[in-house]
Every structure is written in C-alpha cells, then in structure tokens.
Symmetry: C2
Subunit: 403 residues, 2 copies
C-alpha cells in the first residue's frame, strides 16, 4: 500500500463525519463496472440521494396526494412548506429564521432578488454590477433585470468590484464560489464595500451553501439566492431559495407578485397586497413533490456543524491536491482552484487541453467528476459522504488516465 | 331507488369512459368515514393520483437519482423533459408538437408570456388588457408586466374586450374558464377580435386544459399558459407550461432568459443567445421529480379523445344540476355557472350565503368540493374518473346539508 493510501486510511479513521455517509444511498454499482465502487465527486452538480428521501416521497405521493388529496394543503403542511423548509436551510447559511423562502429556480430567484434590490436602492442609482466570472445565468438574468428596471449593467470581476462601486451603483450580484474555478470570494469584505457605497449586495450561494460557512446575517448580506440540489442534496432540479434580510422585507417589491405572496391569498382580491415576511418572496403554487423531497433531504444535517463540514472539505481538497501532485506528471494539469484556504470552495478544478476526453475515461472507470467547457476537469467534495481513501483512489486513477 | 339514482346507473353503464377510473388511485377511505366512499369533486383544484405515478416516481428517485445520479441528465432524459412533456400536453390543447415547454409555475409563465407578447406588439402599443374576473394571480402579474414594460393595464370583463380593443392595445390576457363561476369564454371569437385589432392574445388554460377542447393552433392563439395539477392530474404544484405559437417563436424575447433557454447551454457563454423553438421558454434547471411525475400522469390520456371527455363533462354537469334541482329547495342556492353548454367549463358553482359552513359539512360526509370566498360552493367534474352514480349521491347529500 502506498504512503498516500496509508495516510488516507488514517484520515478516514480520524474523521468525525465519516458515519454521515450512512445517511446517503451510495455504493451501488448500477451502470458502472460492477467490481468497482463509484467515487462520486460531482455532488457540486447533483448531490447524492439521502437515505430518508425515497420513503418520504412515496408517502407524499401515495398518502398525502393519493388519499388525502386536496386536504393535504392544510393537513400535510403543503401550504407552509416554502417558509418552513426555508427555516431549515437558514442555519446552514447563517441566517435566523423567517428570512428564507424556498421555491422556483435559481434563475427566477436571481431575477426577484436583483429587481427588488434595484428598487430598494432608489431611482438615482442607475447601475448594476455583476460578477463577470459567474455562472452565465446570473449574467443573463442580470441583463434582463437591468433592461426591465431601466438600469445599465456592468460586468466586472469580483476583485474589480471595490473600484467599480460608486454613488450610482444600485446593486451588486456576486457568486460566493465560482462554479468553474472553485474560487471562494470574500463575502464579508465585498459586502462591506458594497454597503460603504450605499448599494445592495446580492449573493448567489449555489456553490457554497452546505459546503462552508456563509454567515448571511453576520455579514449583513441584503439578499441571497441558492440552489438546493448541490451540497444540500435536494434532488435534481429541487427548488431554489431566496433570502431577504429581515429589515429589508417591508421594502421587498417583487417583480413576480404571484398570488402565493399575497397577504390573504385565499381572499382572491383583485388588488395586490404583499404578505409580510419571507412569504413575500413566493410566487405561484409550490411544487410539492420536489419540495418535500428536499425537506427530507435536509434531515442529513441533524447534529452536523457547518464548521466541521468546512474543516473536512479543506482537508479533502488539500489531500486530493497532494495525491494529484504525487500521481501526475508535473505540468500535465494546471490547478485553477486557489491554494489558499480562504479562497477555496469545496471543489478542485484542473485544467488540461483534453479535459473532455479525460473526464469521459474517468467516468468509465467509476470516478465521477464533470467537464466544464472548454478545458476544465471539476471534482466536487461533499464532506458529508466523500472519504479520504476514495479521494486517493480518484487521484490515482486520474494520474493513470493522464499518463 | 329514486328515479335519478336509476338514471345514474344507466348513464354509468353507457359511459364509454367509465373504465378510465381504473387508471387512478381512488376509493381509498383514509381520513374519511370508512363506510362511505369519497366523491371527489375537487379535481379542478388538485387532480387525483394516476395509478402509474407512484412506481414511476420511486424509479426516478431510487434508480435515476440514487444510482445513475448526474448521468441521468442524459441517460434518463432529464435534460429534454420540459419539451418532451410539452409535446405530450400539446394534443390535449390542440397544438402541434414543438410549441409547448413545461416548467415553472403558472404565475411565472404568465409573466413570460405577457412580457413577450407586449414586446412583440411593439413600442406604439401601450396598453395591456386583462380579464378583471380572472384568478387574481393573472391580474397581479399583469400589473407587474405592465409596470416593467412601461405599459398601462386596464381591467375589463371578457365581454367588454371587443369594445376595449384599439390600436394602442398590445396584448390581452384572458382566462379560458373562470375559476370561480366555471364560465367558459369564447376563445375563438375573442382571439379573432384581438387579432383584428392587431394585438396578441394570451390565454390562461388552467381551468380548461384536460376538460374540454381548446384548439390553440386552429384558433391562432398567440401564447398560452396553464397549470398541470388540475384536470391534467400532474400532482400538487406540478410544473406549468407555456405555449408559443411556432411562427412567433423567433420573436419570443423572454424576460427570464435563464441558462436553460440558451442555444448552447453548456457552452457557458457570457453572452446570451436564445435557443430556437419551444426551449426558448425555459428558464432554470427543471424540477425533475415533479416533472417526471407529470409525465407518468399523462399516460392516463392514452387512447382518450378530448371530445369524448368534453361530452361526458357536459353530461355530468347537466346531470348534477338536475339532481341539485330535484334535491334542493328552490332558491336555497343560485347556480352561477352558465346553463348553455358553449359557456360552461367542467365545474358547477353554486352560491349561498353559508357556503363555507356547508362545504365543511359536505367534506365531513365525503363529498369533496371546495369553497371560494365569500359565498361559492365549487364542484369540479373530471370526466376521466367521476361517474354519474357518485354525482347523484353528491347532489343528494348536498340537498340534505342545505335542508
């Protein structure tokens, strides 16, 4: 056994989170070579299935829908699910209860958050700044938000934000962790800079929530959005969430004021009066199956501290990088994820010209990461279920495929 | 046995759609008096559970998500589900393939459709007309669409639309069937009137699709939206759909241009280039669990003609009205649903001052309709699973409770 493999065994033995893996359905060989367990390093794209979800979904379908039918809107708690599940996500992103509502896609929530932020900023603030390095949907939606609120849009890198801020800045939309490089941006200092300019900070937490501490309340973030199907393991296309800081909620003026956000939704009034609190961010009827699957998925967090998750995440990515360096010829890949812990999310992105083919071969051998156009191999590390021995194995197979 | 009960038996025996009831999970007594089968007349709010759905959902959760995980985006057809399922809905609303995409809530789709319609109408058309009698969310969203496109909004009843149209009219948003009264509006002639004024017609099909023929293509409707959890039985909060007439698709300019609507979504380009065809109406990552439950639910339509469904719907509501008149003291309730078949959807709405209490007692006796503020009893008739004998029984119990 190699030195690194021995090291991995020790790290696994000392891992206080190791038993959490049992809260997930893993180690099935379906579709892969039956003699090799899969190393799933794509939880930053789609989290693995939490073990409690299948029974919960079956109950929602068969009993709540099939037997109680319409009565479940009250009796099974369907109606209040968006804010109830929001309160389950809240502690994972450092938010007190009553500020997060679940529903719609991330893109739709970016639109709500950015338009609302611009409206709060007032008429004389005419520019929106958006992270030029972000996942493209944020940029596309920001462009639409700018067009529809009569603002201009300027694309800057996160490091350029402080210099770009001014008294015309309405809002800044930033990604906490870059989806491609895995770079973690400095949320506290960027938020403070945005506030110093009198603008509002909107953060996209898709690639950070569930992997590291966010501290929304502590750092005074104004609005935030995120998906739930990555590190929160909510299932494919699980509904996203919207955070609106409590003191801003009365001024949250939604561009999508659907009937679910009305203060008296069953009054069926022809005139709109927004609900108080987080439900103001709701729009239409919530997609109950996906939403209650997410609720069951969040049970994996019972008794788990995000700080411990973060510590393991850094240990995993540190160890993966050590193994890659040991097993791969120097210069064959370039690591585009920052070395410094303060700048690293929970993934490692390696650049090489033949990344697409390499990833295809890795997946065929049971090492599941993903490929990001044009030349990036992405490996996501979900500390709740990824261990050190499989991390070593993934790096070893990667080294073989790169040789 | 009463005359009407005998009549019901004959109608059930002659009903060519009667066997379709077996495609649903019904006749479970859970939560209701165990000695009485439930008469479910709320399929216009939440359709009953189709029998194929539980196994399909279990497979999506356990195998597609739990085992194949990220590979399911391709291998299980997740990525193309929105347009594939749209093509399953298309024949039910009289649309050729390639014009419907599934996803998001009805409210979000109303926003997409109305903003896109206004943009197609051009700058010099400054007014949006909206059905003043419609389900409130349409009015709220129309107000937001007007505000965000710099148009004015005018609320008119559907019968006032022809007189209200003019060369300033950009678009008209109408409900095909009124959610409260069950009145069916004249889609062909209203659409023609809208077109004669050079405006665009946007129809909300929530209360008609799956219950009667819509004829989107035949009548030249421009854009349409609808939910799938009523007569399409897709499940609680199942994703809604958006129809954009083929010739208008190149001009469809979405206010929610999320990455799923990009012509090369995995190219991750910072600049937006819309996809051709129906996928242009997509926004973010589709909610797969809810969406594939809907896909399985649509199997109940195999071999079913919508014209037969419509004929049975009218027979059911005719028969229900006959029974209500026979069993209820004259003047005790007022029927607010039109008598004329051309003006009737698939529900009967009865007005009485104590409607809220009456519905409570009906539900306690296993007759499940719903109450609409302030004084309306709603009874929805889903021809795929509602029969005549239970319709007679519902009317009889209603008569007893009203006495």
């Amino acid at each position: 056994m190699s030195e690194l493999a021995l090291q991995a065994e020790k790290l696994d033995a000392a891992d206080e989170l190791a038993s959490l893996r049992d809260r997930f359905v893993l180690d099935t060989a379906s579709g892969h070579a039956a003699d090799a367990a899969v190393v799933y390093l794509d939880g930053n794209s789609l989290g693995a299935l939490p073990a409690q979800v299948p029974d919960r979904v079956a109950d929602v379908v068969r009993r709540q829908w099939g037997e109680l039918r319409i009565r479940s809107w009250e009796e099974s708690g369907w109606w209040t699910a968006p804010e109830r599940i929001g309160d389950r996500i809240a502690p994972l992103v450092g938010a007190a209860a009553g500020q997060i509502v679940v529903g719609d896609s991330t893109s739709v929530n970016v639109f709500k958050a950015l338009v609302a932020a611009v409206r709060m900023a007032g008429e004389d603030r005419t520019e929106i700044l958006v992270d030029a390095t972000t996942f493209p949907t944020d940029g596309y939606i920001a462009e639409s938000a700018a067009r529809m609120t009569g603002r201009t849009l300027r694309r800057v890198t996160p490091s350029e934000v402080p210099a770009a801020l001014g008294d015309r800045t309405a809002a800044v939309l930033l990604n906490h962790v870059d989806y491609r490089t895995g770079r973690l941006h400095d949320l506290p200092s960027l938020t403070a800079a945005v506030h110093a300019a009198g603008a509002l900070a909107v953060w996209d937490l898709c690639h950070s929530a569930g992997a590291l501490e966010v501290g929304l309340d502590e750092h005074g973030v104004d609005l935030a959005v995120g998906c739930t199907y990555k590190y929160l393991n909510g299932g494919p296309g699980a509904p996203a969430y919207l955070y609106v800081r409590e003191e801003l909620q009365p001024r949250f003026d939604s561009p999508l004021p659907g009937w679910n956000s009305h203060t008296d939704p069953f009054g069926m009034s022809p005139s709109y009066a927004p609900a108080p609190g987080a439900p103001r961010g709701r729009v239409g009827t919530p997609d109950i199956l996906s939403m209650l699957a997410l609720e069951a998925a969040l049970n994996v967090w019972d008794g788990v501290r995000v700080s411990a998750v973060r510590a393991k995440s850094l240990a995993l990515t540190d160890f993966f990088l050590r193994c890659v360096r040991a097993y791969t010829e120097p210069g064959r890949v370039e690591c585009v994820t920052p070395e410094r812990h303060e700048e690293r999310g929970s993934q490692i992105a390696l650049r090489c010209p033949d990344a697409g083919e390499v990833m295809g071969r890795l997946i065929a051998r049971g090492v599941v990461g993903d490929f990001r156009h044009p030349d990036v191999l992405r490996f996501g590390f979900t500390p709740l279920y990824v261990g050190f021995a499989e991390t070593e194995r993934a790096a070893r197979i990667l080294g073989e495929e790169l040789a």
